[in-house]
């Protein structure tokens, strides 16, 4: 799902922020936590924007 979101949120600018905003708006905290954990251990599977989006969420 994270990958799907990343592919479907377009634009060059502020893409990571937009992805982060989507995850914050629609996912439960638990879903986000599980995703953070998964992405941490499987970084190579994901785009840089998605990894950046997770970082943005973690710092909020």
């Amino acid at each position: 799902m994270g990958k799907q979101i990343s592919l479907n949120i377009p634009g060059e600018e502020k893409r990571a922020e937009k992805i982060a905003g989507h995850l914050k708006s629609f996912w439960t905290p638990k879903m986000r936590e599980e995703f953070f954990h998964y992405i941490e251990t499987n970084k190579s599977e994901f785009s840089q924007e998605l990894i950046d989006a997770v970082q943005i969420l973690k710092t909020k």
């Binding site: 799902m1 479907n8 989507h22």
Partner: protein
């Protein structure tokens, strides 16, 4: 209320800025130019006798009852076909016209059975009335001559009969079928004295008749008569209410005799339907009193135990204890609920309130999750609000109608009739659909462009249409500059002009001829008014939300927003999809689509509800099911939905339900989901409800109780009882009080009350201080969000791929006579039209597999298998198969997968890779074994 008879002005109203003054029987009348003398007379309070005229039909001038005399004019013209002229002086009652009318009436009666006292239309027969009005006292010709009195009655239709012996050949039924319904199934066969109404030379059931009832309603005698009226007698009182089938939301007069519902008659002043109906709304309401209906609360400790009928108090206490125990064991987030689009706004509102207060979390979702959730997301991102832009009436001003992923002829028939009328007037039709549906081509309507795309390629095609508009400079620059966010537009323009979005590239992806895409785009962009109407063929994809934004981009780029005849309009599947979304049923939003993380909104709800609100989104339906299987979600309240039949990958749904410790189902019937329930709370049918539904055009309509609740409670009362048993005080005296609370908490509903609705009939939200009588068309001067927002919509292919094992693509939908999971329509005579789900398959695919028409076919996807009967059809292209999900026995959603829309999790019902082969046995042999799951 006694029986409600709406006034009939004889001919349709005329819209004209110019008016003319006439004098009729000494009364001065001013009417729009072009108005008939008959209508002008009616507006002056003078009823000219008539038989073939009706104000829902164009004037015909055949019955010769409405003859009048006009000063300075020769003869006795028919008032229905004579337009008023300035200064005209008309006399409707003169010895001459009275004599002529009596003479004509004598001829009618000489060939009409004189059985008024035993006739089912006695008291509701215009011929009888007119015979009295013209003062007919005897028939000089006798009754022995040639006549039609011994003609046979056609009783083939389950709901009405055609008794030719009573027919006066007024043509009203034929014209109603032509002009109102647009099916043209009826005609007058024979000439002169032998002229008779005919359903195309066959009986009604074998004909093209779609059983909408327009002919029955138009008939002035008992020729076309509801069988219920024949069997039970004429109704004596009326309750105005709203249909509970599709999202058109037709207004009906429920006509009763005592407490027995005799018939449903579409209401002429109904804003959505203006007097028209379809086979479901008009006739298929018998499920409300079907013997399968459960009206007593029931409980059981385990789902393998038999049900035990108990009192409401015991059932509520059992349910509350179960939910509290779950929360104690697994945490506050371990329970949630699902609201229903079949229930009223008020019923839905209290369920989401109960979840946010008594349950203490935001784990509320609604069945719109699996249908139109992408509409909410996509239109909010682009326009600023989660709803369609127009009223239904607007289609009458459209010059080009683009229907995308919808088949209104089958699923929204009353809207389709409006659309067909406009198409017959010359509007052009573009359809995007993998199938050649009735909307694409039928004997009377044919799309100018049918973009027959492969399932799953919507976004590629909408981008190609936009590409043509941008690269051929068809953009409405002035509109975009004035109304839209220019920065977003420029970014979108650059994206859409990329070669990857060109029709030539998209042809290789979608299978749609590039030139056809170019021509369709030019047609859409160049018309004065182009309107988009869409359905679940847009939303139920992995890119459903992207496609909604793609359509919004297209409308903004061409300036087709903010006036009559244009817009982007979702055709909602169920009666209250719009309302259930409006009422705060999503886990991230309160009523009025305000995010749970918004502090000011949170404070408003906390102060009003006197309970702490959570600021994080809750679980969506698929999240709830996944969490259940993971052992983290253990209790659910399901209001009027059958997720074990309607949701994708049914096996997964059933496993999730079976793993829960407290499942509460509120429904009319023991449906598939209730097989997994511990508590069954009997629900009320729409005939028992008091509240409101909001249709696809944002129209809030009253639903009034036609009969007393068969369960002893309103559904909202049961919800309040459960909330109280959970520890949260929730009390209302009536449904009107709930609406008052909705209005206080929801800016777009601020002006709505039952009192207002009772006064004005219906309103379309926003209804507030700025728009006290509602808003038929949105985004008129500016978008709700301010500037329209163009969003880039890259095409991302679905992960559901065909391969050697599953080489065909299955797409699903519904048909005219059945509805959703069929719980209602399967319990009516509508089964006569569609007794089982079938698999439409192209001849080439069938031949390659040795599949014969009407034989059993085994259908398999990577998640499940079923058996259906094959229907070889050229409506589907080779490589695509199609079925419906109306019958649990064939269980189409056993096949569909858990792939879903990236933004909203709306399931991708429309794209499933499958294979099929001949089967010797029917579907019973492969039913998902619920018994094993429930431990029986």
């Amino acid at each position: 209320m006694t029986i409600l008879k709406e006034p009939d002005y004889g001919t349709p109203a005329v819209s004209n800025d110019q008016s003319v003054k006439v004098k009729i029987d000494g009364i001065d009348v001013e009417v729009p130019a072009g108005t008939s003398v008959m209508r002008a007379a009616a507006e002056a309070g003078i009823q000219v006798p008539k038989l073939c005229a009706k104000d829902s039909l164009n004037a015909f001038g055949s019955c010769r009852m409405c003859l009048v005399e006009i000063d300075g004019k020769k003869g006795t013209p028919a008032s229905c076909t004579t337009p008023c002229e300035q200064g005209m002086v008309v006399k409707t009652q003169t010895p001459k016209v009275e004599r002529l009318r009596r003479g004509v009436m004598e001829l009618y009666i000489s060939d009409h059975p004189l059985d008024c006292l035993t006739c089912p239309a006695n008291g509701d027969c215009e011929l009888q009335d007119m015979a009295g009005v013209v003062g007919l006292r005897d028939v000089r010709y006798g009754f022995e001559g040639s006549n039609h009195l011994n003609e046979e009655t056609d009783s083939s239709n389950p709901y009405f009969s055609y008794d030719s012996s009573k027919c006066i050949v007024c043509n009203r039924c034929v014209r109603a079928c032509d002009e109102i319904q647009g099916t043209l199934a009826l005609t007058i066969q024979g000439r002169g004295f032998n002229s008779r109404v005919s359903a195309g030379g066959t009986d009604f059931m074998s004909s093209e008749c779609v059983s909408c009832g327009a002919c029955v309603q138009a008939c002035p005698t008992a020729t076309l008569q509801e069988k219920n009226v024949i069997d039970l007698g004429m109704p004596t009182r009326t309750v105005l209410t709203t249909c509970a089938y599709c999202g058109v939301g037709c207004s009906f007069k429920a006509e009763l005799r005592g407490d027995e519902l005799i018939r449903m008659v579409p209401y002429k002043d109904g804003g959505a339907n203006e007097g028209h109906s379809c086979v479901k709304g008009r006739f298929a309401w018998g499920y409300a009193t079907h013997p399968d209906r459960k009206t007593k609360p029931m409980i059981r400790q385990k789902i393998s135990d038999p049900w035990q009928e108990v009192s409401w108090e015991e059932a509520i206490s059992f349910a509350a204890t179960g939910l509290k125990n779950v929360q104690q064991k697994y945490g506050k987030q371990a329970i949630g609920g699902i609201t229903s689009s079949r229930c009223t706004n008020e019923e839905v509102f209290v369920v989401q309130k109960m979840i946010r207060t008594a349950f203490g979390n935001n784990n509320v979702d609604t069945c719109a999750r699996v249908c139109h959730s992408p509409t909410g997301y996509g239109l909010k991102q682009t326009f600023g609000t989660s709803a369609g832009t127009q009223d239904f009436k607007s289609v009458a001003k459209a010059d080009v109608i683009m229907v995308i992923g919808a088949n209104p002829f089958a699923a929204h028939p009353v809207f389709a009739s409006r659309m067909k009328k406009r198409l017959r007037q010359g509007a052009q039709l573009i359809v995007l659909d993998p199938r050649e549906t009735e909307t694409v081509k039928n004997p009377h309507v044919e799309a100018k462009h049918h973009l027959q795309l492969l399932p799953g390629t919507n976004v590629a095609v909408i981008n190609a249409l936009a590409h043509v508009i941008v690269t051929e400079k068809l953009v409405d620059e002035e509109f975009v500059k004035e109304r839209c966010d220019i920065e977003a537009f420029e970014a979108w323009k650059e994206f859409i002009a990329l070669p990857e979005n060109s029709p030539e590239v998209v042809e290789t992806i979608s299978g749609v001829n590039a030139q056809e895409i170019r021509n369709a785009a030019r047609l859409y962009a160049s018309a004065n008014n182009s309107a988009i109407y869409y359905g679940l063929g847009v939303t139920e994809h992995s890119q459903g939300s992207t496609m909604v934004m793609g359509m919004a981009n297209l409308a903004m780029a061409t300036g087709n927003i903010g006036r009559d005849g244009v817009g982007v309009n979702p055709l909602r599947g169920q009666n209250n999809v719009q309302g259930s979304c409006d009422m705060g049923s999503f886990p991230h939003e309160y009523s009025g689509y305000r995010h749970v993380g918004d502090d000011s909104v949170k404070e408003l709800f906390e102060s009003m509800w006197n309970a702490p609100m959570q600021t994080e989104p809750g679980l969506r339906i698929p999240n709830m099911l996944d969490a259940a299987i993971a052992g983290e979600f253990k209790g659910i309240y399901i209001q009027g939905e059958d997720i074990a039949q309607s949701d994708p990958n049914v096996k997964h749904v059933k496993e999730a339900l079976a793993s829960m410790e407290m499942v509460i189902v509120q429904d009319l019937f023991i449906n598939e989901t209730a097989q997994f329930a511990h508590v069954f709370l009997p629900g009320t049918s729409f005939l028992e409800k008091d509240g409101t539904f909001t249709n696809a055009e944002r129209r809030i309509n009253r639903v009034r109780p036609v009969m007393a609740s068969k369960t002893g409670k309103s559904e909202w009362e049961a919800t309040c009882d459960l909330a109280k048993a959970m520890g949260y005080e929730m009390d209302y005296e009536n449904a009107a009080q709930i609406m008052d609370e909705i209005a206080k908490l929801t800016p777009t509903f601020a002006g709505v009350s039952f009192k207002l609705l009772d006064e004005v009939g219906s309103v379309q939200w926003p209804c507030n201080e700025k728009a006290p009588l509602g808003t038929p068309i949105m985004h008129v001067d500016q978008f709700v969000r301010g500037k329209g927002n163009f969003v880039e919509t890259p095409y991302v292919p679905t992960e559901e791929k065909t391969n050697r094992k599953f080489p065909l693509l299955l797409t699903t939908g519904r048909i005219l006579s059945q509805y959703n999971v069929g719980a209602q329509t399967r319990r009516t005579a509508n089964v006569a039209w569609y007794p089982e789900d079938v698999l439409e398959i192209h001849e080439a695919d069938a031949h390659a597999r040795g599949i014969k028409d009407d034989s059993w076919v085994h259908l398999q996807s990577r998640v499940g298998e079923t058996v259906l009967r094959a229907k070889i059809s050229d409506r589907v292209p080779a490589g695509v198969v199609y079925t419906t999900f109306h019958y649990p026995v064939s269980g189409a959603n056993v096949i569909t997968t858990e792939f879903s829309d990236w933004a909203t999790n709306c399931p991708e019902y429309k794209v499933t890779a499958v294979e099929c082969r001949p089967s010797l046995r029917g579907p019973e042999s492969l039913l998902v074994n619920s018994d094993a799951l429930v431990g029986k």
